[in-house]
């Protein structure tokens, strides 16, 4: 009998084992919030915080704003499941700072090119207040600076066009009196994040250093101090992010300083330009000790473009005199006027992404042959960040980041090194078998405006916040598995 029991046993294992197969259970440690109070999280910030992407604020972008993604992770450790954002309509083309719609990747003349999704943005977004859906946990306002976050009436249309922020108007409890900070603090958050300061340098940078201005260090420091102090009246915990160096952003690095590719200008044209324009200009400039401003165009290599550098000594009068014998007084005066502060771009200049659509176009109301932007007519200051301007920006960025780091450290807040993170993206990150970098369109991290992030970029940014928070507070909030987040959508 015993023998048969054993045999029966073996037989039973074979039969049962064949039909009852079970999946192994993964031993995932339970996440913990440690001492964090995440019952009310409010995010202070600018366009990146708002979910702005592809040059516009639109619904899908808001859904993957890093604060919204963070809140979802917070919920996994007992944080509030509710995170309210000032959403725009779901099917809207969105709206950008110049009234534009979001960009999508299209095919133009057989080439992949970012194009607006619609002729204009959805202006109803600016004219429809969503304040009744608030208060908003996400207080990210496109265009906000550290120094404007504390402005009462920042969304007051009565200030006149250009002097108020319509992105704030639509969500402010009282546009005439509220500041971003007052609406944020009124919610009595228990935890806050602050990622502000980009526009304190970026607004200047985006304009090629031609307009706006970099916030002063003292005003920046004052503003950051006020924001942290005010938020911490209820929120004892939080995270402060620093700001990226602009050279991490494709907006400034995609167009090379020699954007005129070999063959882009015909050989005949190059000869003609060298004979009639570049040659005489270089000769005249050399006589005034400024011959390095312009070199002859190369027929065999990519060429730089002509720009106007307002930091150069204006040689208009000298050029006019020098060119008068060859060109006649009237033409010489015109040349002198146009090329008095002209030079070619060098490796230290940054040509803005949007400038690509200007280079090679005709300058209105200027006669041939000095009427082609970048080639026979210098690009205006707004199209290029010169070495001097870039230097100003880098100095300011370093100064701001030092203030932010000190502020976080003094207040005992988590410090998120976004600057280091985006610098690593510039070098290239390998993430879950996917290569991610800062290359425009294909890199995966940056959206079609070259500044704001893709859903994938936002998820990775959220992870930077989580790592910093976990480090500061000893929590184990799980990171986001970003392997299923999108980069740019291809047609």
């Amino acid at each position: 009998m015993k023998i048969y029991n054993i045999l029966h046993g073996i037989f039973a294992v074979i039969i049962i084992g064949s039909f009852c197969s079970c999946r192994p259970t993964a031993d995932v440690p339970a996440p913990s919030k440690a001492s964090l109070d995440l019952s009310k999280y409010v995010a202070i910030g600018n366009s990146i915080t708002s979910g702005f992407a592809d040059a516009a604020l639109y619904y899908a972008g808001q859904q993957v704003s890093y604060p919204n993604l963070l809140a979802q992770q917070f919920a996994k450790v007992g944080g509030s499941a509710t995170f309210v954002q000032p959403l725009v309509p779901e099917n809207s083309v969105g709206i950008g700072t110049s009234g534009n719609s979001k960009l999508v990747l299209g095919v133009v003349n057989g080439q992949l090119t970012p194009v607006p999704a619609a002729a204009t943005g959805d202006l109803s977004i600016f004219t429809t207040s969503v304040a009744s859906q608030g208060p908003f946990n996400n207080m990210g306002v496109p265009g906000a600076k550290a120094i404007t976050t504390i402005f009462p009436g920042y969304g007051n249309p009565a200030n006149g066009a250009g002097n108020y922020n319509p992105f704030f108007t639509r969500m402010a409890t009282n546009p005439a009196t509220a500041s971003v900070l007052s609406d944020a603090a009124a919610q009595k958050p228990t935890f806050f994040s602050m990622f502000i300061g980009n526009n304190d340098v970026l607004a200047y940078a985006l304009a090629g250093g031609a307009s706006d201005s970099i916030s002063s260090l003292s005003l920046f420091q004052y503003s950051i101090g006020i924001i942290i102090q005010t938020m911490m009246s209820t929120a004892k915990q939080g995270a402060v992010a620093n700001i990226p160096d602009i050279t991490s952003l494709p907006y400034f690095t995609t167009i090379p300083y020699t954007p005129l590719a070999t063959g882009a200008i015909g050989a005949d044209t190059i000869t003609q330009l060298n004979t009639n324009l570049y040659g005489p200009l270089k000769q005249a400039l050399t006589a005034f000790g400024a011959g390095d401003r312009i070199n002859l165009l190369s027929a065999t290599a990519a060429n730089p473009v002509l720009i106007k550098d307002v930091s150069l000594t204006n040689l208009s009068a000298q050029l006019t005199i020098a060119l008068t014998p060859a060109l006649g007084a009237a033409n010489a005066a015109a040349f002198g006027q146009v090329f008095g502060q002209a030079r070619q771009t060098t490796a230290d200049d940054y040509i803005l992404l949007t400038t690509s659509s200007v280079i090679g176009t005709n300058v209105p109301n200027v006669p041939s042959p000095i009427n082609v932007y970048g080639i026979s007519y210098p690009l205006d200051d707004q199209y290029v960040l010169t070495k001097t301007e870039a230097g100003n920006i880098q100095t300011a960025t370093t100064g701001f980041n030092s203030i932010l780091k000190n502020a976080a450290s003094t207040a005992g807040l988590a410090y998120v090194d976004v600057n280091a993170f985006l610098a690593s993206a510039k070098t290239g990150i390998m993430y879950d078998g996917r290569s991610i970098n800062a290359t425009f369109v294909t890199g995966g991290a940056f959206s079609l405006d070259g500044i704001h992030l893709t859903p994938l970029g936002n998820a990775l940014l959220s992870n930077q916040f989580i790592m910093a928070i976990n480090k500061q507070y000893g929590s184990t909030i799980p990171l986001i598995d970003a392997s299923n987040y999108n980069g740019v959508v291809f047609p």
Binding site: I6, V28, V108, T113, T269, G360, G433, V489, F490
Partner: protein, 417 residues
Amino acid sequence: MYLNSITHKKSLVKKIIISILFFFPIIVFAQGYQLNLQSVRQTGMGGTGDADPQDASALFFNPGSAAFLKTNSVTGGILPVISKGVFADASSGHVSNSDNPTVTPFYVGAIFGNPSGRIRYGVDVYTPYGSVMQWGNDFTGHFQITKISLESVAVQPTITFKVTNNFGIGAGFVYGYGHIDLRQDLPLTMSNGSFANAEVKTPANSFGFNVGAYYKFSDQFAAALTYRSALKMKSSGGKVDFTVPASLSGEFVDQKINAKLPLPDNLSLGFSYNPTNRLTINLDGVTANWKPYDTITIHYSQPSAALTDTKLIRKYMRAYSLKLGAEYKFTPQFNGRIGFVYDKSPIPNDLVNPDVPDANRLSPSIGIGYNPCSKLRIDASFLYEHIKRKGENRLTDINGEYLFNLYIPGLSITYNF
């Protein structure tokens, strides 16, 4: 006049280079997928049997021992592999499931000739390698692998020679044929929101050999030494199909591919001991040389800026297995069997991949044999394998824990005549 330059500058993204790191995890033949399922009887005994010829499956285990079979024999069996797995991403805790269609390794072997003569002939058909693994849509490593399927069959005509009454040698010629199907997502989002993907399908084949020696010290004790050659599988007629956004179809053209996949040789030393008429104990040690499995290159017939040859860095090490098995004759009709296999994985710790989440493991097996009459035997077996591997990959950054349960029942019929 400046039209050229204008056109050039307008198309901003003209010179886009889609620099996708195009990894193809082409091979799944690690230790875990080297199927040691060429006999239901032996599977019940931990996969041992190099020095213990019982039926025509000895042609596979040791061509040198088959000459010592007391009768001619025809045997055939199937051993379906049922597997279920999970991957837990280390940083997010996200768990993905792997639902794997059942694969059915099989074998058919026959040996002929005069059982009392010196030379006999046989042929064995078996499944040397095989696996199917299909991850769910949300799998963390989906840019490496979403589905992998490998089917293979080997045919081994064999000659076995009883040199003396105690010593036998044999040799088989091996022709291996396989079919590989791999799918992975590409990091490009299509307009419908899904990821682009690529599928490689290729047949592959190779020639090799299987030789063995068998020495019977006494009726109680025998030893064996066998060597199965490497199989340098060469793809022929392989192709890759891309599902990519229309605007990138020029960069990713469906095309032919070729690749070479070195499968390891196997050297084994086996012992068989019969302390009584009823009990058999086997012990086999095997080493597989995976070192040639270092970097696999996939060549594309129409490469582009976005698609260059794929280099798969695997750097496998030598693998080892130790097998222990026993059979006990309860009655003249019924045998019971038990065994254990310890496998040491060839995969280095810093290069674990979701295509082969292999691990060191100890796998138990049991089996039963039934002889309804003296010539006929029916065998059943059950092998359980549990794979647990903390995977870190320094190249892909896919880090987490892989867990798999493999359930392998077997059923065979053997006719000795």
